[in-house]
């Protein structure tokens, strides 16, 4: 804990709370300055996943919801490393992912997009980082989908990620995008990210991650806020 520095969100990288092009922020973004606190015992810790039991198929979205056949779409494998800001691996941390199916449709009940559901695809899963901070999961490449933000608004292909890291200040929810997506330039959610941060959310196609005759490979490394090498153990 010797290197503990009360580092904050880097607002040259993170999107602001208020980003009016993304209309839902207008009534939901807080408007007063954040109150800065020193971390106490509670902020220096967070849920620990050392004994966490994943389901056998939790990391394989191509198989974890099969009813009567394979899900439709392009199989992909997503792999990456989770580190802190010093580049030290964050081991044994939980990643949760969720996404639309290949047609751009979410299983979520409020998704009204007129594209087919896939009976064999739920679109959610989870995995853990190993001792080197590496993670890997299999899925179907998500489709683009329309949304109501403005006329002819479409979200680029993306996978939602949720991560914890060493303490509650490293908590992160984000979205992974795909290289060369023409919709990125029109997306107010992606474009709310300052210039310096933008390319950090675009995965890279990686032939060495690609599995022959099975799935295209994408690499997506994640850096969580914090300088602490080892997660605080609380159990």
């Amino acid at each position: 804990m010797s290197k503990l520095i009360n580092n904050h969100f880097d607002m040259d990288i993170h999107p602001p709370y208020q980003a009016t092009e993304y209309k839902s922020t207008i009534l939901r973004a807080s408007s007063k300055p954040l109150v800065i606190t020193k971390k106490t015992l509670s902020e220096l810790s967070g849920p620990v996943f050392n004994d966490f039991k994943l389901g056998v198929l939790d990391h394989d979205l191509t198989k974890n919801a099969i009813i009567d056949g394979e899900p439709i779409g392009e199989r992909i494998v997503v792999q990456g490393k989770v580190t802190n800001e010093l580049g030290q691996p964050i081991s044994n941390t939980l990643l949760e992912v969720w996404q639309a199916n290949a047609a751009g449709r979410y299983v979520h009940k409020v998704d009204q997009h007129n594209a087919p559901l896939d009976p064999n695809f739920l679109g959610t899963g989870r995995c853990m980082t190993d001792t080197h901070g590496n993670y890997k999961f299999y899925t179907i490449k998500p489709g683009a989908y329309p949304w109501g933000n403005h006329q002819n608004a479409w979200r680029p292909n993306h996978i939602h990620f949720s991560l914890f890291g060493g303490d509650i200040s490293s908590r992160l929810i984000t979205q992974m995008y795909f290289p060369g997506d023409p919709l990125l330039e029109y997306d107010p959610i992606y474009n709310a990210i300052p210039k310096r941060g933008k390319e950090l959310l675009i995965s890279s196609f990686d032939l060495s991650v690609t599995e022959p005759d099975f799935a295209l490979g994408y690499r997506f490394d994640i850096v969580l806020r914090g300088h602490i090498a080892t997660p605080f153990k609380n159990k």
């Binding site: 904050h8 969100f9 880097d10 993170h14 999107p15 602001p16 709370y17 993304y22 839902s24 922020t25 207008i26 009534l27 939901r28 973004a29 807080s30 408007s31 007063k32 109150v35 800065i36 971390k39 106490t40 015992l41 509670s42 902020e43 810790s45 967070g46 849920p47 966490f52 919801a65 580190t83 800001e85 010093l86 949760e96 969720w98 639309a100 979520h108 998704d111 739920l122 679109g123 959610t124 989870r126 939602h160 949720s162 509650i168 908590r171 992160l172 929810i173 984000t174 979205q175 959610i189 992606y190 990210i193 310096r196 941060g197 933008k198 959310l201 850096v223 969580l224 609380n234 159990k235």
Partner: protein, 174 residues
């Protein structure tokens, strides 16, 4: 020190429920966490709503609670889309005071329309003495301090979150 750049945050969006809170919302996927943080006989109930800038309750927020008083480390998660009037509720232990500071619970708030999550704290209205001396509570202006204090009611503790407006909740940079 040469630091790596933090991965930018993006919104949780409207469709997180089947991935992050599947059982609560009735999806066929295992949940690893819910709003029952403690089954102890002395557990308390904390409930409330999240309001937008027009005073409407928000039905697609996800609330996470974390508390660590040195004795108990408890984590809970709940969405505002299944209970009447878009309420959230948690069952947990009331934390103990640490270093003579007032007991509190950390809150992490996610929702569509938030590109970056928010942090606040739940303090307790029946802890007047400690609240009066708590250095963090006292660092907040008196008018805004009330937004951090859950009110004891017959049903437990009520803690409402206002994203904007005259009652805007105090959010922290931790």
């Amino acid at each position: 020190m040469n630091l790596k750049q933090q991965t930018p945050s993006q919104t949780i969006g409207p469709y997180f429920a089947y991935g992050l809170t599947p059982i609560q919302y009735g999806y066929n996927f295992r949940s690893w966490v819910d709003n029952k943080m403690s089954e102890d006989a002395n557990a308390i109930n904390i409930y409330g709503k999240v309001y937008d800038g027009e005073g409407q309750t928000i039905n697609d927020a996800m609330i996470e609670l974390w508390q660590n008083d040195g004795k108990n480390q408890l984590f809970g998660r709940y969405g505002t889309g299944t209970e009447e009037n878009n309420q959230f509720s948690f069952t947990t232990l009331k934390p103990n005071s640490v270093n003579k500071q007032a007991p509190f619970i950390n809150v992490i708030i996610f929702m569509r329309g938030q590109l970056l999550h928010s942090y606040t704290r739940i303090y307790f209205s029946d802890e007047d003495v400690l609240n009066e001396k708590d250095s963090i509570l006292q660092s907040v202006s008196k008018e805004r301090r009330q937004t951090l204090i859950a009110n004891k009611t017959e049903k437990g503790y009520e803690f409402n979150i206002h994203m904007q407006g005259p009652d805007e909740t105090v959010f922290f940079q931790i």
